[in-house]
Symmetry: C2
Subunit: 360 residues, 2 copies
């Protein structure tokens, strides 16, 4: 069949141009007679791919030179452990903001390594808002302040970067990285599983300020030591080479789109269209506060939950797939990552209006 | 250019038929309208890919039902930590056999978690042999006995499976898995980074006996807990989906070749040809004892080390690439994994004979 519009929250849609290039190069990269999949990570071909990907990411996010960029494995879940293991640095307490499922998971894992201070939580409101920073109970002696700029499951996104004072700010950007510019200098550490807004599963990007490295807790596995990874250019052992290459193709594609300011304009327009369609209808409803609606993950419910199954099935027939909401929330969710074409959003809105008319 | 013969130790050559299928399916897997790279790991398409890959691997290795098969990230280096963290099970001491660079690295990392008893070492002989098991100083109360069936760097391979008695036997099969049948029931745990004899970097296969799971040391990151991974079908978080799919294509290809007995015959023939050519020449030399020469990684030196550079450069011109020995050893190394066609070995031998004639 022809290509569908894939609204999966991750792994997720990739730019068709990136897939086409990967396809063309599958048996022979750049005339070298082998696939990227077959290249030793210690030789010149892959070295050039790896270096170019890092340079392009640094350019896209304007990453200052005193930050290291790491290409790791293990997903955000591994970061949930690596962050306390590396950033506690002799301190006992860590500050966490709880705004949904992913921040809660980060908190649970951090508790294995020290005393977690939950500075604020939106759980009482079913995670549909962001607590006003004026109400946060931060500890000025905390090892770091952790938050989740975008909650993939419930579609809640911070419209601001928290002020952490002198405490290093740590952020899980898995589902919103590269969707708009970030001022990296505000952060101690940024991490992101690649399988949402970068591309391939099996790659995790970490951007970390150099001065925070080198003080792990004693039982830290060598692979979980940021300094070891940084000192070895993310090649202490064999990195996930093909995922690194694909991420590099996505970075090049983003540059060709005009970079992150251009992506921000497109992403805001795509999300606004869908929110407008939802809010303008009596049939659909988005539970998230107006002030913190995600550009990337848009949950919505139907007036008649009994129609959820029919909606998802008919949408799939129309080439609009993976719209079912997360199993913990129900309803629907449309993820509109960078690689989702605006035509996909238009097609979804058209389908939604037609479905509402037939079933309203 | 046309495809080269790639003798890299890993990441390494893949079967051309596998690459061609991956290429054909890159934008649309099985008519579903999306790439495997874009599939949610929670939905039906990837679920079928994942289950089929595991079933094919179980069939190839005849894995008993009381063993779990895990598809993880992080490479053998992560296993160096995960094994003591999971398998110590309240014991204080672990037995390790030291036969080369990779077993040494495993030993260094294990020392962070308990008392390592090196039962035997071939370091005095520069790691060119396997110590006779009669000389090993094993501890009957050890948590497990760890060894490295094939040392990728120096090309030393065990011709036998050690007798560990009631102590669980743990083996790093990274560079020899699937090259011949293994009696899995002899082992407590088998692990292998995929980037040598399976295919894609970024995937690690673990085969572990169920009764060994569930007793981690307190500081174990959740992602390093085998039981968590096993209870969640290796999908506690997003797995490396594309690498899992590619491994599945390799498993299908191996079945089409006739399975592991057929591969063993081919691998023995390929390796014998090259060893015969080396041993029959005054110009080339293999330092490894006859009794423990690897089928997969064949190191050799030139009579005049000053010619190493010319050898590697002229070989590359002839389409024979990645022959340079590991930086810690020097000389040359030819890795003859499953996916190396016999024609590649023939071409290498022809080149070696010609080079020797011109420079002898």
């Amino acid at each position: 069949m022809s290509r569908v519009f894939n609204f999966s929250a991750g792994p997720a849609v990739l730019p068709e141009a990136v897939l086409a290039q990967a396809q063309a190069e599958m048996l022979d990269w750049n005339g070298c007679g082998m696939s990227v999949l077959e290249m030793s990570h210690r030789e010149k071909h892959f070295a050039s791919i790896a270096a170019q990907a890092e340079a392009d990411l640094r350019e896209l996010l304007d990453i200052p030179s005193h930050y290291k960029v790491l290409f790791l494995q293990g997903g955000a879940y591994s970061q949930f452990s690596m962050i306390p293991m590396n950033l506690l640095r002799g301190k006992a307490r860590m500050d966490y903001v709880d705004t949904g499922d992913w921040s809660s998971k980060a908190i649970d894992e951090a508790r294995r390594y020290g005393d977690v201070n939950v500075v604020a939580s939106s759980s009482a409101g079913n995670y549909t808002s962001i607590p006003d920073q004026a109400s946060w109970q931060c500890d000025p002696n905390a090892a770091y302040l952790h938050y989740t700029p975008n909650e993939t499951i419930r579609g809640v996104e911070f419209g601001f970067v928290p002020d952490a004072g002198d405490v290093p700010l740590v952020a899980d950007f898995s589902s919103t990285i590269l969707s708009r510019p970030i001022d990296v200098s505000r952060f101690g550490l940024i991490y992101a599983g690649a399988q949402k807004n970068i591309g391939p599963a099996g790659l995790t990007i970490v951007i970390v300020r150099e001065d925070l490295l080198g003080q792990t807790v004693p039982c830290t596995p060598v692979m979980f030591d940021y300094k070891v990874q940084a000192d070895n250019g993310s090649m202490y052992n064999t990195p996930p080479t093909y995922a690194w290459y694909l991420a590099g193709l996505v970075f090049k594609w983003l540059k060709a789109q005009g970079g992150l300011s251009a992506m921000a304009a497109i992403n805001e327009r795509k999300a606004s269209k869908l929110y407008t369609a939802i809010d303008g209808s009596d049939f659909y409803h988005c539970p998230v506060d107006l002030m913190c609606r995600s550009w990337m993950n848009i949950p919505f419910t139907l007036a008649k939950p009994a129609l959820d199954k029919a909606f998802a099935a008919e949408a799939e027939q129309a080439g609009l797939v993976s719209l079912k909401g997360h199993r913990s929330v129900g309803g629907m969710r449309a993820s509109l990552y960078n690689a989702m074409p605006e035509a996909g959003v238009d097609a979804l809105i058209h389908f939604m209006q037609d479905f509402a008319q037939r079933n309203g």
